[in-house]
């Protein structure tokens, strides 16, 4: 809902600004937007001046027209193109990739800035060929080693009610590996009867046991393979996704600006496994920088959409200029 609003913020319609109920809010957000835009505006003498003054909370706006084109879906790894146009000629001066976040002022406050499906191989030098990795991806590992155990847990017999007898999950036809891998990354069980049954029974019987088993599968996978993460492949993915990406973050009535620098993406190395569910990478040259790769099921634990939820830590981050 908030993203479409961004397309109007550099110059909201007069009737929106004059609206009795929402006019003040439009003005506040618009002023903040034009202020933060100076951080990514083309570096001309004019805008360099406004960027400096913006740090001091001056509300001077940039001397370019700003056009916001929203991008979405998995084809794009950012939210919008922000184009700066020459005010007189309308010609494009520069275009920037932007990512918008709500309720955070810095990238290191985000619970994730990047998400990779579990089928994305982090353990081979060639993520372009996920079909034959040297180390199984987590979804394949789970299918082979833990899905049979998960199914076996739910016998359909309610331990608290001898009269409550349902179909044992083991009686369901298990899909072949290729079919399972294709389906497990979806976000809905519609049209997937095997997954729909697992979801229906998720909380009905043996919920704690199932949850513990899934936790064990993640811990076991990371214990076996976590330290073998291909740091170069991860860094390459990070650099490809984050270079020249500008984060515009809204928190406490203000827009804030942040970006991941090249220095913060270099010299990464394996550091540790944390809490049995995350790989921690650390910068060798700047140990205050850490990346946490949390492996978790995003839609129904043990059933759908296992993924790496990736966050960043700046251990001694400097406070944001307010």
């Amino acid at each position: 809902m908030r993203e479409p609003v961004l397309t109007l913020l550099s110059s909201p319609p007069t009737e929106f600004l004059a609206n009795e109920t929402y006019g003040a809010q439009w003005k506040q957000v618009s002023d903040e937007w034009n202020k933060v835009m100076t951080k990514i505006a083309p570096q001309t003498a004019d805008t360099a001046d406004t960027a400096d003054t913006a740090d001091n909370n001056n509300t001077t706006t940039t001397h370019h027209k700003i056009k916001v084109d929203l991008k979405a879906g998995r084809l794009f790894n950012y939210d919008a193109d922000i184009t700066f146009l020459d005010e007189e000629t309308g010609a494009t001066v520069t275009k920037q990739k932007a990512e918008f976040k709500y309720n955070a002022a810095r990238i290191n406050e985000l619970p994730q800035f990047l998400s990779l499906q579990a089928r994305y191989s982090l353990f081979t030098a060639s993520p372009a060929s996920p079909a034959s990795p040297a180390i199984p991806t987590y979804d394949e590992f789970y299918y082979t080693n833990y899905l049979p155990k998960y199914i076996a847990i739910d016998t359909g017999r309610n331990p608290n009610d001898p009269n409550d007898i349902q179909l044992a999950l083991a009686e369901l036809p298990k899909p072949p590996l290729a079919e399972y891998i294709n389906a497990v990354t979806k976000t809905s069980t519609e049209g997937l009867p095997f997954f729909a049954q697992l979801k229906e029974r998720e909380e009905l019987l043996f919920k704690k046991e199932k949850s513990a088993l899934v936790d064990e599968s993640i811990a076991q996978y990371l214990a076996l393979y976590g330290s073998q993460i291909d740091v170069n492949a991860f860094t390459a993915k990070l650099v490809a996704d984050q270079t020249d990406k500008h984060y515009i973050l809204w928190k406490n009535g203000k827009f804030h600006y942040d970006t991941i620098t090249q220095e913060e993406m270099s010299d990464l190395q394996f550091h540790s496994i944390k809490n049995g569910n995350a790989i921690v990478l650390q910068s060798a040259t700047k140990p205050s920088i850490e990346y946490h790769l949390l492996l978790r099921w995003r839609n129904h634990k043990g059933i759908l959409n296992p993924a790496w939820q990736i966050s960043m830590r700046r251990i001694r981050a400097t406070p944001v200029a307010q």
Binding site: V5, F100, A178, G191, R296
Partner: protein, 104 residues
């Protein structure tokens, strides 16, 4: 208390996007089933159809999602939409926290 205007067009919320994406994916999957059956029959199992399917799925998934999402974004913002910038986030679980920081 101010009366909220009633929407006259379908909302472009997550459920609409998800439904459109789901339908398109279903059509794609059904079509793939047919194509794979034909390939298996015509080429007498000489083609690794599982691998072929995986590749086609990976290539087409992003296209399908972006198409449906872009369609839904054609709805212009309404004056009251600015209120979303002043909503409080109730952060209780990681999933909710993740949703909370995504502006869309």
């Amino acid at each position: 208390m101010e009366q909220q205007p009633q929407p006259t067009t379908p909302k472009s919320g997550r459920s609409t996007k998800a439904a459109a994406t789901h339908l398109t994916l279903q059509v794609r999957d059904n079509l793939l089933d047919i194509i794979m059956r034909v390939i298996t029959r015509e080429y007498n199992n000489a083609v690794d159809t599982d691998r072929l399917r995986t590749i086609i799925v990976a290539e087409t998934d992003p296209l399908i999602t972006v198409t449906t999402t872009q369609q839904s974004q054609h709805q212009p913002p309404r004056v009251q939409d600015i209120g979303a910038f002043f909503k409080k986030c109730q952060v209780t679980k990681t999933t909710q926290q993740t949703r909370c920081v995504n502006l869309c």
